[in-house]
Amino acid sequence: MIKIKTTDRYNITALKSFMTNILSLLAALVMISIIFLIAGVNPIYAITEIFSGSFGSLYGFKETLTKAIPLILIGTGLTLAFRAKFWNIGAEGQMLMGAIFATWTGLTFGEALPSYIIVPLIFLAGFIGGAVWGIIPAILKIKYSINEVISTLMLNYICAEFLTMLIVGPWKGKTRFGFPGTNNLPDSAILGLIPGSRIHYATLILALICAIVLCVIIYKTRFGYEARVVGENPDAGRYAGINFLKTGLILMVISGGLAGFAGVGEVAGIHHYLGYPASISSGYGFTAIIVAWLAKLNPLYTVISGIFFAGILVGGDAIQISLGLPAATVQIVNGTLLIFLIMGDYFLNHKITLRFSNK
């Protein structure tokens, strides 16, 4: 008879943690291959296609970096929220609210102001928009004990409908010839691109700075420490006199604000006007949850995991066209990766021994 015994592991090194992630990803890849096989697609071809589409060519890699920008920004903000066990599922809405605020600022003041004033201004506006949409669930949770998963999700839908209402109604631009969407932002408010790509470098640099700053905040400041205590041991936090409301508000200002930045980048860097929610964000707010999880909630690692998942998005588009797979394929890939990452965590934290006995 075989007996399975599990014991907790305590000495988890960064290397072990990293290797577990790699192994989980490989195991997920095997599973995804099996799924492709069942769907009648050659898995080796499909997976090579995904990664060659995103990392195999200069064009692909440029697209990957473009999509990595919002993922890094949002993922970074989520690492902070998730560390405090604040389950912010609403980054999608916070991002859209950032886009709304930025568009309004750009359209209202952009004409009269030079680039070096209006660009920082629209980023500030986007941050405020995302933060406002992030504070609401924080207040609802801490003051009124309303589950944040529900409130952030509901706010996603509300924001998407609100945006649609604006672009088909009061904000509809004359230059759109009756189609929904605002007018284009004035030239001064439009972000510069790396030539020959769609990479709006200002947002990319901002994303990298945010990752570093968040790392400092989480590991080196009193606030970061308090946020971690709130997540890991709320009772101890209460005894230590941590102000839950204040901590929760600040962390959702940051988490929502960074998602707001991502919204600014999409509007001012890529589209240049506010269009339908689905065109502004292709589910970045949700993908960023896996980005944060793969990064083991470390803001610096979100840079790597953000680029990786951006690659899957770009490669996913590529196989949709070349293999005729539905758009949902990316969801299967993402879901499978996430499940295997969770399983990997178990093996990282538990030692499993098999005992053979002759019973």
Partner: protein
């Protein structure tokens, strides 16, 4: 005018039916201490499987059974992650939703836009359907409507009055104590997650083979998430879920009623979500203790700890 009111209320019942089914399932699941955020995904799986089986066999009830089975099997992923691996239930549930939306999109691709010719006839209840107003609203409905109410009542009885139901509740409130009473916490949590999955898939089946009689990617349209909110609104009680679900069905239908009055359709589409938040806020303002979830909701249980 009378016709419009009757029609609106009738439609509200239809729109509330999948919400009630999914909410009842989630109530049972959460009462055992497991938060399942995969409802939306499982619902999509149920919808696509029910549609495909009904279309190929011509028997809608076969489609329903296939959907329930799929939902239960599919939910094992979440049960395994959250019970056996003691993983984070929020993340695992989100993964389940992604997988469900993904697989349903892949399976259903050849069926997009194909109408279902098989119609589930309304059940006209003799005598009762003759009652003015109520007869047309409540007693001339599709079979799913009666099934949803019946299952919600059964679930209420099951949780409140049967031994197994009380054991399930005890695993959600105090798994340690339950275990000392000889209850197998893991097994009951698995069971509850699977029942919840079956309910979610049944809700999906209603959407594809009765409500819209077609399949399209993303047709669940956030109903799974609303069911999770309704679980709180119903205060984890399947009996309360009945009127909660039909109230929300009303929020869905009122959109179409108010649209001709020139109110922005986007604003009306916001209503169910705003209502969800406002109602939760109202409950919290009136009596915050009522929002108390099962004590050990979303907390992994580890045998023999402390």
């Amino acid at each position: 005018m009378e016709d419009i009111i009757i029609l609106t209320l009738h439609r509200a019942m239809v729109a509330g039916t999948p919400l009630l089914l999914a909410t009842t399932g989630e109530v049972i699941c959460e009462r055992s201490g497991i938060l399942n955020l995969g409802v939306e995904g499982v619902m999509a799986m149920g919808a696509v499987v029910a549609f495909i089986v009904t279309m190929t066999t011509g028997h809608p009830w076969l489609g329903v059974l296939a959907a329930i089975a799929t939902g239960m099997i599919f939910s094992i992923i979440h049960a395994f992650a959250s019970v056996t691996l003691q993983a984070n239930q929020v993340v695992s549930g989100l993964a389940l939703t992604m997988l469900g939306l993904g697989f349903s999109g892949m399976l259903g691709k050849p069926y997009v836009g194909k109408p279902l010719s098989i119609k589930m006839e309304d059940w006209v209840i003799p005598w009762l359907s003759d009652i003015p107003w109520l007869g047309k609203i409540l007693f001339t409905q599709g079979p799913f409507f009666y099934l949803a109410i019946f299952l919600a009542l059964i679930s209420w009885f099951f949780l409140e009055r049967t031994r197994l139901g009380i054991q399930i509740r005890s695993t959600g409130e105090n798994p340690k104590a339950a275990e000392t009473q000889g209850v197998n916490v893991s097994r009951l949590r698995y069971l509850s997650v699977l029942i919840g999955g079956g309910f979610s898939a049944l809700a999906g089946a209603h959407l594809s083979i009765s409500y819209s009689k077609s399949w399209i990617e993303g047709m669940t349209a956030g109903r799974g998430w609303i069911a999770i909110a309704l679980t709180i609104f119903a205060l984890w009680n399947p009996g309360r879920a009945i009127w909660a679900a039909f109230l929300f069905g009303g929020f869905f239908v009122v959109q179409y009623l108010l649209q001709p009055l020139g109110i922005s359709p986007s604003f009306l589409a916001m209503l169910p979500y705003i209502a969800t938040l406002l109602i939760l806020l109202l409950i919290s303002l009136k009596d915050p203790r009522k929002l108390n979830a099962p004590a050990m909701l979303a907390e992994p249980y580890k045998r023999g700890e402390r």
